[in-house]
């Protein structure tokens, strides 16, 4: 099944997230990830939803989302026309003998070490899903203790953007 990215502008009200998430479960759609945060307009939040499914599923998800009164705009983002990022924190086992190797890997991935303890390193990495996945693979050999991922966020490239006030885009 293909993954599709939906960018959804919603009213920044209590309960909107649960309405959106509830819609997915009761309609039997699969959410791969859902990231939400406020936009330049404090009354509006943007959700980036990654949906697993075929074209029919994505169309239905978009239509059903549009039915929600608190949903202002829904737009499917094409992978090639959008900038996609995910942030992850990975806590990995690190002993004196493995620490330098891990640091080398982190540098190759242009990731950052954000916390160090006697037995662990916590690494911050941002990038698309593949990059985060690749780093995770490389770190597995040392023993990953914990991972947290934000889910994908995405914006269209260039001048195009979704407006909250009307249906036009520039």
């Amino acid at each position: 099944m293909a993954k599709h990215i939906l960018s959804v502008l919603v009213e920044n009200h209590a309960g909107v997230l649960s309405r959106v998430a509830g819609l997915f479960s009761r309609r039997g759609f699969n959410i791969d990830s859902l990231a939400v945060g406020i936009t330049e307009n404090p009354e509006v939040s943007r959700m980036t939803i990654v949906v697993d499914g075929d074209e029919y599923t994505v169309e239905q998800v978009s239509k059903q989302l549009n039915k929600l009164i608190n949903v202002i705009r829904v737009k499917k983002l094409e992978a090639q026309d959008s900038v996609r990022r995910e942030l992850a924190l990975i806590k990995v086992n690190a002993s004196a003998s493995t620490r330098s190797e891990i640091i080398q890997i982190v540098e190759i991935f242009r990731a950052k070490i954000v916390d160090v303890s006697k037995n662990t390193l916590t690494i911050e990495v941002s990038g698309d899903e593949e990059k985060v996945g690749a780093l995770e693979d490389m770190l597995k050999q040392f023993g990953i203790k914990e991972i947290v991922r934000t889910g994908l966020i995405a914006l269209e490239r260039g001048n195009r953007h979704i407006k909250a006030n009307n249906n036009d885009e520039e």
Binding site: E59, Q60, Q64, I69, N70, I72
Partner: protein
């Protein structure tokens, strides 16, 4: 001048021209009920909150207005849920107002607390938990707008008791602007042109008329199109009444419990024009097989319905009335003579085959529901009666055998299939149209799901006629068990039913019981002879088939 939140709700209802509401008081909604005493709005006290929601539904369907129901917090609110879900599935505009525990106690599982906005989110077009009393006027205005516009549906407003008691400067908004809610009414001209071309080209076209024709008040436009272009019509259960059921172009209801001709037409058409229908599985179980053979045009105000269950060649989003008006300007008649002749022949052959099953029935045998319903229709030929039904065999017997000539006269729970709907819906219909005859067709099973509303009928002197097609069984399920489960009947017998006539008497309502078919005519005459409520208990053979 300052008013309380409760008074503000009443004021808003008055501004929205609400004249009747249906409800059941409780502690958390008491400020509202207190304020209601100073208003001219009439309150119908039902015997169960679910009855209030169904009554608001029936009221909305006969009046074309938004129905309003009220309940208290916790169990009062949760009792509304089935009624709200029923209205959602059938796109009926209702506003449900519920009391809630005080704001500072929400989430603490205090007495009679329920997260009703969370619980009803899947069945509501929208809902609100009012946390600030100043928001009440805007929320009420939005609620009525959302419930009645676009694809109609239920909206719930949950008002904590402290919000009802707080004060505000009341100013009702004149306009509203909900950023995320802008229904499309006007159909796309290019798509409408494509419909016209498709109709002109089609040899075997058929219109499938749904409940949207009725709620969109598009009956006249539909008839104009049917006559202008000579296209036969099949209806969904919700679409019954969108074309007179005895009209020569009406082929009846389609689907698993529909007419032979309707299904014949759908399966042999080269063009199907679906209007205001959601292509439910009971109407078109093999939707995509049908779409393989015919081109599909789907007109609906809810874009989410188009392409949901059937592959559509020409989708048109918008108000069906406005789209039909635009279409009538450009459409030209195609050649459908061969098609109509074909249907006529099939109809003749099928009717000839059935002769002797419907007409020559044993008059000494148990009451034949089809005979009774046809007789009832005949007796009320010039009557503008509203018929409500319960759900089950009684519903399908009524849908297939009554003559319904006008929209809004056949009221049934189509989408949700809610047993216990018909009696309270009749209450709402009678309150909405007090001078119209209201008859509810029941089964003995479904009647017992809301028979307590006999009390409402008595208290408010509602002259509702109740016909129970009583086979002491859950007939529809029994039939399913007979056909699909080798007659292994599992818990479908209601043999120890009470004496429904005595029960009616206990509520001060007259009635009688008939057991034989020859008694039908006189019993119906007695039932229809006055304007008072009446219960007619008709003993039906449990083996009587639905179709």
């Amino acid at each position: 001048m300052k008013v309380t939140g409760a008074q503000a709700i009443i004021k808003a209802l008055e501004i929205e021209n609400v004249t009747h509401i249906f409800g059941y008081p409780g502690a958390a909604i008491c400020p509202f009920y207190n304020a209601l005493l100073d208003s001219n709005i009439k309150h119908i006290l039902t015997r169960h909150e679910q009855g209030a929601a169904h009554a608001a539904n029936g009221y909305a369907r006969v009046t074309g207005k938004t129905g309003v129901c009220v309940a208290t917090s916790g169990p009062g609110a949760t009792n509304l849920i089935t009624g709200i879900a029923t209205a959602y599935m059938d796109s009926i505009p209702i506003v449900a107002i519920t009391g809630q525990v005080p704001t500072n106690l929400i989430g603490r599982d205090v007495f009679q607390e329920a997260d009703i906005t969370g619980a009803t989110a899947p069945f509501c077009k929208h809902n609100y938990l009012v946390k600030n009393v100043e928001d009440l006027p805007r929320i009420l205005k939005e609620a009525f707008h959302i419930a009645s516009s676009g694809r109609p549906g239920p909206v719930l407003i949950d008002v904590p008791i402290d919000v009802q008691n707080s004060e505000l400067h009341f100013k009702y908004p004149e306009e509203i602007d909900i950023r995320g809610y802008k229904p499309t009414y006007k159909g796309h001209p290019l798509q409408i042109k494509r419909i016209a071309e498709a109709i002109e080209k089609a040899k075997f076209p058929v219109i499938c008329a749904g409940g949207g024709i009725i709620s969109g008040k598009a009956r006249d436009e539909l008839m104009e199109l049917v006559i202008k272009c000579n296209i036969p019509v099949v209806t969904t259960l919700m679409g019954i009444g969108s074309i007179p059921t005895d009209h020569e172009m009406c082929l009846g209801m389609l689907g698993s419990h529909g007419s032979y001709f309707a299904n014949y037409a759908i399966h042999n058409a080269d063009l199907i024009i679906i209007m205001g229908a959601r292509v439910g599985d009971r109407a078109m179980a093999s939707a995509n097989k049908i779409a393989e053979k015919a081109s599909i045009i789907h007109i609906d105000i809810d874009p989410a319905e188009i392409g949901k269950n059937i592959d559509v060649e020409i989708p048109v989003v918008g108000d069906v009335k406005s789209i039909l008006q635009d279409l009538l300007q450009v459409v030209k008649k195609g050649d459908t003579d061969e098609w109509l002749e074909k249907i006529r022949k099939v109809r003749q052959e099928h009717t000839a085959k059935r002769k002797g099953t419907d007409e020559d029935i044993d008059q000494d045998g148990a009451v034949k529901p089809k005979f009774l319903l046809k007789m009832l229709s005949k007796m009320m030929e010039d009557d503008d009666a509203v018929i409500t039904t319960e759900v089950g065999q009684n519903q399908i017997w009524a849908a297939n055998n009554l003559t319904i000539r006008k929209p809004g006269k056949f009221i049934t729970s189509g989408g949700m299939g809610t047993m216990g709907y018909g009696l309270p819906a009749a209450v709402g219909a009678k309150v909405g149209c007090p001078n119209t005859r209201v008859i509810t067709i029941s089964g003995d099973g479904s009647f017992q799901m809301s028979l307590q509303e006999l009390g409402t009928i008595k208290q408010h002197k509602l002259g509702i006629k109740i016909v129970i097609l009583n086979n002491s069984r859950l007939g529809m399920v029994r039939e399913l068990q007979k056909m699909k489960y080798c007659s292994r009947y599992s818990h479908v017998s209601l043999e120890d039913n009470p004496d429904f006539v005595k029960l009616a008497y206990a509520y001060g309502i007259n009635g009688e019981r008939i057991t034989k078919n020859f008694e039908v005519e006189d019993a119906l005459k007695r039932m229809l002879s006055d304007d008072k409520a009446y219960l007619l208990d008709c003993v039906v053979d449990p083996e009587e088939p639905t179709l």
